[in-house]
Structure formats: C-alpha cells, structure tokens
C-alpha cells in the first residue's frame, strides 16, 4: 500500500516520524533500543546480520541498518532518537551522524552550526508552493497590533 500523503511531506529533507512510520519501523526502533545494553551491543558487533534476525525487519530495513544508511532508516520508520543509539554503538558522535544525513563532512557541518545553522530560506518547501508570504502577512498584522499598544 502506498504511503498516505500529508501536508508535511512537502517539507524538504525531512522524514516525519508519524504513526504510520512508527508502525512500519517498530522493528528498527526496538533493535536500536536493544543497543542500550552492553551485552547486546557486543552481540550485534560480533555478527550484525545474525543479531538483526532477532527483530522483525524487512529486507530493506536490514539493508539500511547494515549499510548505516541513516536517511533510509528514517524513511522506513526509524526515529532519530533511536537510530542515534546505533551511531553511538559505532562510537560516533551525534554530529558525525548529522553530517552523514546531510551529506556533508563533519567539519563543514560543525562550521555551519557555529555560523548560525542551516538557513530556513530556500528550505521551507519541496513544491515551492509554500512561500513565506503567508507568514509575512501575519507578522505585518503583529506589527500593527504592537503599534496600537
């Protein structure tokens, strides 16, 4: 069944962890949660594919985990707070994962954050339909009401 379409699918570079993904990705997130225990981390690292068989995962999900394709994990129902545990198990900082997901180097990502982060301009909408015009109108009315005060 095709994924139901939502208004938030228009946000670029974003996989919203909604109820449908939560259902789909239950196995991914439960696998990640298991990595909170040291014994499980060791068992996973000793034989990743065998360890993953203990969880209810589709072949695509298993593949994304083995390849550490973090964006694909999110698309298939993983949640970032859970998949971050896989990154930590690999000994990576969160910034390393963020850089991976954004397709940049860790140095570039860190520099972007220090410079104030990724700008919202140009990052609001895939379709381009959502322009800041609506918000601008809102903020204008706010200035007006502030003036009235």
């Amino acid at each position: 069944m095709a994924r139901e379409q939502h208004d938030y699918d228009d946000i670029p570079g974003t996989f919203v962890f909604d109820a449908e993904r939560s259902r789909q990705g239950y196995g991914i997130n439960m696998f990640c949660m298991s990595l909170m225990k040291d014994g499980n981390r060791k068992a996973f690292k000793a034989n990743e594919a065998a360890y993953l068989k203990k969880f209810n995962l589709t072949p695509e999900q298993t593949d994304a985990i083995l390849k550490r394709d973090y964006n694909r994990m999110l698309e298939l129902g993983g949640n970032i707070y859970f998949t971050a545990k896989l990154g930590a198990t690999d000994g990576h900082s969160f910034q390393h994962l963020a850089a991976l997901m954004t397709g940049s180097t860790q140095q570039d990502y860190a520099a972007m954050m220090l410079a104030g982060g990724r700008s919202i301009e140009g990052n609001r909408s895939r379709s381009g339909k959502k322009t800041p015009s609506k918000r601008k109108a809102k903020s204008k009315s706010k200035t007006r009401s502030a003036k009235r005060k």
Binding site: I11, A98, T102, N123
Partner: protein, 319 residues
C-alpha cells in the same frame, strides 16, 4: 492554597548536560550558554519554590516505542535519572511530590484531560538539563532544591498534542494547583526547542526569527501561539522544533498577562537554538515573597511600576 508564581521556558539540549558533567563549563563555547543562566539561577534562589512542575519529553530513554503516552504525569516519590547509553547522569535522584501530583491527576482527568499516571518512571536529560540550568550543578550525593512533578509529553511520534490542547492542559493544571489546600509556591517549566532539526538531510536547521517571534508572543500574546498548526512548527522550526508546544502548557498555567523577568537566546548548542525565558504572574510573588493574595485587580499604579521594573530587568543576550 497552592499557587503558581512563575513559568520558566528552557531548552534541554543533551550536550549541555554532558558539558556540565564533564567539566567543560569554562570552555568559551559552553560558557556562552551557561553564563546566560546565571541570573536565572539567582532568581530561582530568591524565589525558593516549594515544588516545580516540569513539562518535558523523554528521548527513547524511559519510554521506548512500546508505549507512547501523550501526557504522562509522574506521581512517584522519586524519579531516578535514566541510563541514556552512557550510564545515568551524575545528578541526584529527583524527589517527587506524590500528594500534589495525584491531586493534579484527579483534577485534570475530571476536567477531561486523560493523563497516563506513572508511579514508576526514570527521567532523562529532557528534564535534568533544565533543572541544572535553573538550579545549578548539584552533586550526585546532594539534593535538588525542591521536589519535582514530571509531566512527560509525546513530541517524538507525530502527532504530538496540539498547541491549543497543551495550553488548555496548562489551564487545568493551574486550576488543580489552586485547589490544593496546602500553601505551596509552585513554578512550572516548559522545556525543549527552540528551533532545531536533528534528522534527515535538512538537519542543522535554525530559524532565529521564528524563535524570537515565539518568545515575544509567549510573553505578550500567547493566544496567537495557540493557533499555530503543527505543520508550521515542523516547516519553520525544524522537525524536532515541534517540542515547543510543551512551552504552551507552561504558558497556559500562568495569568493571561505576565511580567517577563528574563530572556536569553543563543545559537547553537550542538544542533539547537537555546532559548530561555522567565515569566512571572503579577502580584503573586515570583521573587517577591510577600505577594498580594488578592489576585483580582491590584492597585494599578503599583502594577504598572512593577511592569516597568520588569522591562528594565529583561536581558536580551543574542549571539
């Protein structure tokens, strides 16, 4: 009766906790953040609340995907810090206030907010980081300065409760607190945010303009925030920026008109815009102990003066 004297908004970035726990607070990157809370800690020491209600969210620590309660109220006598994969944070066990917590549960459920009751719950950085920012560093063997009632909100799985629902829950909590017979001074925290996205190719998003508007409205025109749909938070403030709805529970628990005591904003703490605000109910104390009990229509000139004083005290430190 018990009364809510002030609301506190604060980000709860995990790296802030790690910086504190690993003795990095003097490094310039972190000092910039911690120094923004020095005045708040002094305010908190003066205010001396008897209880703090802390609205926060769990990050795959105490709650997995096995159970996802929308609103979970901690009614236990104590809440141990959760092991988030690096061992529990070296902070004291958080003491609860089971009597007030169960009173709130009973009152708000009858007001049609169907809370989950947690009589056993661990708490993660979402709660303990704002506690450190406002109460300062407390040794593991020590005690937090006051008991805490945790209110965990699902903001991890979409959809979280709407901003309107959060605001109305705040109101119901206030009503519950004010019907508690013991004379207690209560503060309420809204935590999380401000703008940030930590997932997917758009990770690293920060929207300082949005954040500033949010803080302005929170202070002076909260009804405007109540109407914001989830899509706007996610689009404008990042997929994880939707945590900001939790601040509306805090705001709903305060008077319609409040005094902004303090504000702080800086970018970034790791991937997040750090926002902080203290809003005090008028004529009910905040830092002033002998607050008028007559909440209705205090002398106009007096409250005007107080407002003016509060404006002067407001600090705006931006990066």
């Amino acid at each position: 009766m018990a009364r809510i004297v002030a609301g506190i908004g604060s980000s709860h970035v995990p790296a802030i906790g790690a910086a504190l726990d690993n003795g990095k607070t003097e490094e310039p990157y972190w000092k910039r953040i911690f120094s923004g809370f020095e005045k708040s800690q002094a305010w908190m020491r003066d205010t001396k609340p008897d209880v703090a209600i802390i609205v926060y969210n769990d990050h795959a620590s105490a709650f997995s995907v096995e159970m996802i309660p929308t609103f979970a109220l901690g009614c236990a006598a104590e809440f141990p810090p959760a092991d988030e994969g690096w061992g529990p944070r070296p902070v004291p066990v958080v003491e609860g206030h089971p009597a007030l917590a169960s009173h709130i549960a009973q009152s708000v459920i009858l007001d049609e907010f169907d809370l989950t009751i947690c009589n056993k719950m661990e708490v993660d950085h979402g709660m303990t980081v704002p506690m450190n920012l406002l109460f300062g560093k407390v040794e593991k063997s020590g005690h937090w300065p006051c008991p805490v009632i945790p209110l965990a909100v699902n903001v991890v799985m979409y959809p979280p409760p709407t901003g309107h629902r959060c605001f109305m829950l705040g109101r119901a909590i206030r009503k519950a607190v004010e019907s508690y017979p013991e004379d207690l001074k209560v503060v309420i925290f809204g935590t999380g945010g401000l703008s940030h996205q930590i997932s997917g190719p758009r990770a690293g998003l920060i929207n300082s303009k949005w954040d500033k508007n949010f803080l302005d409205s929170l202070s002076g025109n909260p009804q405007k925030l109540v109407k914001i749909p989830h899509i706007d938070y996610m689009r404008e403030a990042g997929a994880e920026g939707i945590e900001m709805v939790m601040w509306l529970i805090m705001r709903g628990a305060l008077d319609e008109k409040v005094d902004e005591v303090y504000r702080f904003y800086t970018v970034p703490a790791s991937n997040t815009a750090v926002g902080h605000i203290i809003l005090a109910n008028r004529g009910r104390g905040g830092a002033h102990k002998s607050a008028a009990k007559s909440a209705t229509k205090p002398k106009r000139s007096g409250s005007k003066l107080k407002r003016a004083a509060a404006r002067v005290k407001t600090e705006r430190i931006s990066s």
